[in-house]
Symmetry: C2
Subunit: 350 residues, 2 copies
Amino acid sequence: MSRVVKLAVIPGDGIGPEVVAEAEKVLDTVTAEAGVRFEKTRFSLGAARFLETGDTLTDDDLASIAQHDAILLGAVGGMPGDPRLKDANIERGLLLKLRFALDHYVNLRPSRLYPGVPGPLANPGDVDFVVVREGTEGPYVGNGGSIRTGTPHEVANETSVNTAYGIERVVRFAFTQAQARRKKLTLVHKTNVLVHAGGMWKRIVDEVASEHPEVAVDYLHVDAATIFLVTNPGRFDVIVTDNLFGDILTDLAGAVTGGIGLAASGNINPDGAFPSMFEPVHGSAPDIAGQQIADPTAAILSVALLLDHLGLGDAAARVTRAAREDIESRDGSTRTTAQVGDAITARLRA
Amino acid sequence: MSRVVKLAVIPGDGIGPEVVAEAEKVLDTVTAEAGVRFEKTRFSLGAARFLETGDTLTDDDLASIAQHDAILLGAVGGMPGDPRLKDANIERGLLLKLRFALDHYVNLRPSRLYPGVPGPLANPGDVDFVVVREGTEGPYVGNGGSIRTGTPHEVANETSVNTAYGIERVVRFAFTQAQARRKKLTLVHKTNVLVHAGGMWKRIVDEVASEHPEVAVDYLHVDAATIFLVTNPGRFDVIVTDNLFGDILTDLAGAVTGGIGLAASGNINPDGAFPSMFEPVHGSAPDIAGQQIADPTAAILSVALLLDHLGLGDAAARVTRAAREDIESRDGSTRTTAQVGDAITARLRA
Ligand SMILES: CC(C)[C@H](C(=O)O)[C@@H](O)C(=O)O
Ligand SMILES: CC(C)[C@H](C(=O)O)[C@@H](O)C(=O)O
């Protein structure tokens, strides 16, 4: 009797449905062979749904998604500047709501520069690190507000909320990653300015470090970290950082390793209390939607993270290998989104 | 009768005194010829002073500095991890205190890639932009705190405070810069997450933009901005952004344009109510202090910004040209800090 995994699929907006279609091809191929059956439920969510019904994510949507074992998401968000979306914040109301409601306290974003991949750096060296970005705290909590809004006397505050509970759990996860990798962990923050939040991050990293004497730990201010990402990205193994710094560093890291068309991510609840959600780092790119020119590789590599999270490590490794072989064989000629998905699927079958 | 400028000089820690000595050589040379006399007062401030006296910046220091027409600062900060500095936050207590007390609401940081300068990008293209970073608000205000500090139940908050007053004045300055340059202005923020602060930035930029129809305005999320800084830095002319995003972007921009050894900055009070302060973007680098290996170019280019601010545009242009010629003539051979200063001074005299 084969294992059944209940998967919520949120194709989303723009290029989301196109890249998710290819990710599903890969998933279906590898899991059929692994003797696992994925029972999929599709959720129509995003800007398109909002324009149709006025809903971003209802309580019913959320309750129903929460009943699944995992989530695969393409990308959400409408055309920037669309006046009909002026009052909709799809990012906050959908993506961040899912991350917070499903307690995705680890946002795992691997960065790897594959041989032959063109990137912006002249001498990148060997690049292979993961960013462990906190996902449920920091400046992302939405604890902001304004007074005298829209007037010359407006004051707008945004509060970053940080807890020892929240930091310790993500720091522990990061040390586990470092332990299984090259045993190096870099905390990134801005302790000289954000002294309270930064001080707590530093204290907790130091505490957990004492339980991992084999892991070498260092610290960088976020501004210095961006310098190293372009001058010596090979120095990093595991970066652990807060929600906002992680957002910034992972886009930069994506660019450095050949573009966010290759960057996968997992929004993970390691405790298993809620389904984890896997998505490419890129957005919905509505300007190129429907043209079959988006690269589905980031979505496909997100499937590998999903499989890994579900304990299907062999299947995950096969997907990563097939994608990697495809990436390394690219010669700059143009392929459609589906052709890339087909090529990776063919490698899986081979 | 020649004009007299009262200049406060804060050499600071680490490589600060070395690079300031070269900046002063250049300043003395160019201003003697311009018929301006600089009356200098030296302030011994920084980690060294703190270790001697326990003071970071006294009210007397501040009052005395405020009496000057401008400030030249090297770099401040002791050896990271020095236990004697554990409870001193030189950055907050000195550098940020000066920026806030002297209402340096514009932090002006030009980024220019000079021909022949080795940088990390394979194909940087033409890079010539300025970042106008807000200097007195945002997450830098120090409105943070924690409860149950040091325990597993600690909660640490950091509040970013943003006012229409504070944003409008820096945005106006940025538009004036854009007007005098290539007439392009990019707002960088994170409006989809920091909706209140970001929304106000967006609104005010839109309002001021209507007074500058010749300036093309666009918007980037901070994460996307870091991508463009490495994939297409030539797209930028003037970037206007908040205190924290500006901190991050300018270090990255410095790296992209050949390293922060070349990056100059001005902490400016455009109203002239307080003296403005000019400093290299780099820090005190205590690990290489006293060895005469630090590059004084960033400090020298900061002198050019200082001269410009004082209305001595010709002298400023001469310093920039001499530094630029020196930069473009570098062949990778090693020179001491003083040799670089001497070479630039010699070009000024030629
Ligand atoms: C869309 C946006 C809210 C999101 C974030 O800031 O986390 C995105 O940039 C990401 O990194 O997944
Ligand atoms: C030293 C530090 C407080 C400072 C800042 O964050 O502004 C520095 O990084 C800078 O950019 O001048």
